[in-house]
């Protein structure tokens, strides 16, 4: 007697429009939350969620229920975020030759000053792989689940998390000094 996202996703994969509508309605906030954690800005997150919404129907047809829907959808999010970063990097290089990070930083500066707190800074300063990993772990994923989503071993996740912690600690030190 459980109303399960996996069952809904399978029905949607089979072409059930009603199931898809319920599924997307249910999952939207959650996907948005992860997108925010992956990008660190509301505007970026909205755009990324839009990308995901646009591509989800086509992707879903390949969903076979081998992984849980959440794992599968998170993987989709992470891949979409990578894709976006790659595109942003290309655009930025073509435009001014500035790096990805700098463009992000400037864009963030242009946003309201007070939105940029220590957290956003800290997250943005992290390398992409660490940031993705941290975003997932902060979203209540276990190390094993995060490993499945990012397609790396559980050990790698644990290692990345400790590395990310070190990064954050150094950063905090730099700021307090």
């Amino acid at each position: 007697m459980q109303t399960d996202d996996d069952i809904l996703a399978l029905a949607a994969a089979g072409g059930d429009a009603g199931a898809f509508a319920t599924l997307i309605e249910r999952q939207y906030d959650r996907l948005f939350r992860l997108c925010f954690r992956l990008t660190g800005s509301q505007a970026e997150a909205e755009d990324l969620t839009q990308d995901i919404c646009a591509a989800l129907p086509a992707k879903l047809r390949g969903f076979r229920g081998e992984a849980s829907f959440t794992t599968w959808a998170y993987r989709l999010c992470v891949n979409a975020a990578h894709d976006r970063r790659r595109r942003a990097a290309t655009h930025a290089k073509a435009a001014s030759g500035w790096g990805d990070w700098e463009v992000n930083r400037r864009a963030a500066n242009a946003e309201t000053e007070d939105a940029i707190d220590w957290l956003t800074h800290a997250m943005r300063a992290l390398p992409d792989d660490l940031r993705d990993t941290l975003a997932l772990i902060l979203d209540d994923m276990t190390h094993a689940q995060a490993g499945e989503i990012l397609n790396v071993s559980e050990g790698t996740i644990s290692w990345r998390i400790s590395k990310a912690k070190k990064h954050l600690a150094t950063q905090r030190q730099e700021e307090t000094q």
């Binding site: 007697m1 459980q2 109303t3 399960d4 069952i7 809904l8 399978l10 029905a11 949607a12 994969a13 089979g14 072409g15 059930d16 429009a17 009603g18 199931a19 898809f20 319920t22 997307i24 309605e25 939207y28 906030d29 948005f32 939350r33 925010f36 954690r37 509301q42 997150a45 909205e46 969620t49 839009q50 990308d51 919404c53 646009a54 591509a55 989800l56 129907p57 086509a58 879903l60 047809r61 390949g62 076979r64 229920g65 989709l76 891949n79 979409a80 894709d83 707190d117 220590w118 957290l119 956003t120 800290a122 941290l134 772990i137 902060l138 998390i161 400790s162 912690k165 954050l168 600690a169």
Partner: protein, 647 residues
Amino acid sequence: MSDDLDDLKSLMNAATPQPDKARKVENIALAQKNFSDLQGSRDGARLTSDRPKAGLFSGVRHMLNTLTSRAGLTASTAIIAVGLVMLSPLGDRLMPNNGLRETSFRKDQNAPDVSDPIPEAPVTIEAPVIMETAPSAEMEVASEDLAATSGLSRIAAPQPKTARARQLDYALQSLGAEDMPTPQANTESFANADVNPVHVTAETPVSTFSIDVDTASYSVIRNSLTQGRLPPKDAVRIEEMINYFPYDYTAPLDDTAFTPTVSVTQTPWNPDTQLLQIGIQGAMPDVSDRRPLNLVFLIDTSGSMNQPNKLPLLKQSFHLMLGQLRPEDQIAIVTYAGSAGEVLAPTPASERSTILNALNNLGAGGSTAGQAGLQQAYATAAAMAEKGEVNRVILATDGDFNVGLNDPEQLKDYIADKRDTGTYLSVLGFGRGNLDDATMQALAQNGNGQAAYIDTLSEAQKVLVDQLTGALFPIADDVKIQVEFNPAAISEYRLIGYETRALKREDFNNDKVDAGDIGAGHQVTAIYEVTPKGSPAELTDPLRYSSTDTAQGDNDELAFLRLRYKAPGAAASNLIETPISTNTAGETSFATAIAGFGQLLRGGKYTGSWSYADAITLATQTKGDDPFGYRAEAIQLMRLAESLSQN
């Protein structure tokens, strides 16, 4: 250090904004639009950011540029193969043919006209496709481009599954390109008719219908509700919901096949009417010396079965069932996908490992040549038949018949022919999405069988283990019920459910007319809502110009019940007759609550202000003994329906 992470987490939670409402609505709408665009209809060309170019060769050039070598090879071979089938004189014979198809072949010869410019598609969205490097993803894109550039998509439109689209699917899949995506629309169709109307006893005193022991509708409803949606109205067949549950009816005495139990109770949703409930309990013959069974599993292994709730569940279900069989029983397995084939020759049930191996080796892929499968299964069953044995074909499918006969009407005729050979047919439905309930009903009703829908392993347990004897051993064929109401006592009546089972009055005594069959221990319940003469609930006014004094007969009788049935295999029917006295009483049963629930799901035309909450209360009161929790589950479903109906 872990404190650090916790800090970070709470910070993060605080920092995470709520998604923008307007954007959310927009994005969800976009997702749904893309979803429906994907579902087969494909009107016009696929949306691209490139401006379409006119000209004969640009399409071909574009195709050659976009295609990867593997996809290109498969796709172009497929097109040539389709052309070959269509154009060669032998081609006609390569595919099952009928009148309808003949015409579509003609049209197709001129159809793929590459020289036409692609109609300009309005580019309304920029849909970023997140590419993976998996070859299947590339193929998906490539094949869609191909369809768009060569104009094929326009031919397939507007109907999602035109004969042509099916042939294309067929050709692609029979070439072994299983992982080529096929457009899959939500093609569920359900068999149902309009809700039975109220009849005026003075005008049509007689109500005739065939019994129905199917339970498929209830499982489909359960599946919908547990997914968080109200079921489609047409999926609700109230009689199948009522008959899903076991009731406490008197078992028949010695040699009769079954006895009717009649009760009259107050209608919960209308204080001025009554419910006349007719329950039939089939005899339970001694199972220990039952006749040997010859079972042919006819298993749909088409590509659409390749989902966890279809083929794998089917395998598990049959595993469960094997445990119930005896060494003298025989089993054969026939599968059908693109073509039909015998996977397991008739094997005694004692050779368990052989049977299990054959089952486990089944894989899904290809299209669905349902008719060829049926033919082969019936042929196998005929070869296994010996005197004194029960032959049955068990068809397991998601209902998608897309090659050969696929029209429920034509299948009916085909099955009706086979029915006379004495082979029974059971239909087990799996999965949702393209569940073709209409075809399954047509098959089961006309093949002397029953339809069940299996969505969970516990449903498989109920249908294939607990009720196996009933499902496999018929005790009476062509059971028809006729009720004649006494106009002196009852002014109006209405049969709840059985819409698809209505019979003509004159068909009752005609033994040639097919009706439903009862298996060992089966129970069938039918409920009439009757309005007593002079009750304020009467919906019709008396006629001004005709005499209303037609009522004759005994005022002590409410109605007269006639039952007809044939002993299995017999040609002539037996008749059971009993008057229903006005003194008949009874207690409101769980069946009433289910009947009310079913009517609410169908829109509640006659239930007034009676609500799901009332149904829940009534069901809880009448739940009684519920050893397997079926009734508790039903109450849970009512609660879900109540919440869902408020949205």
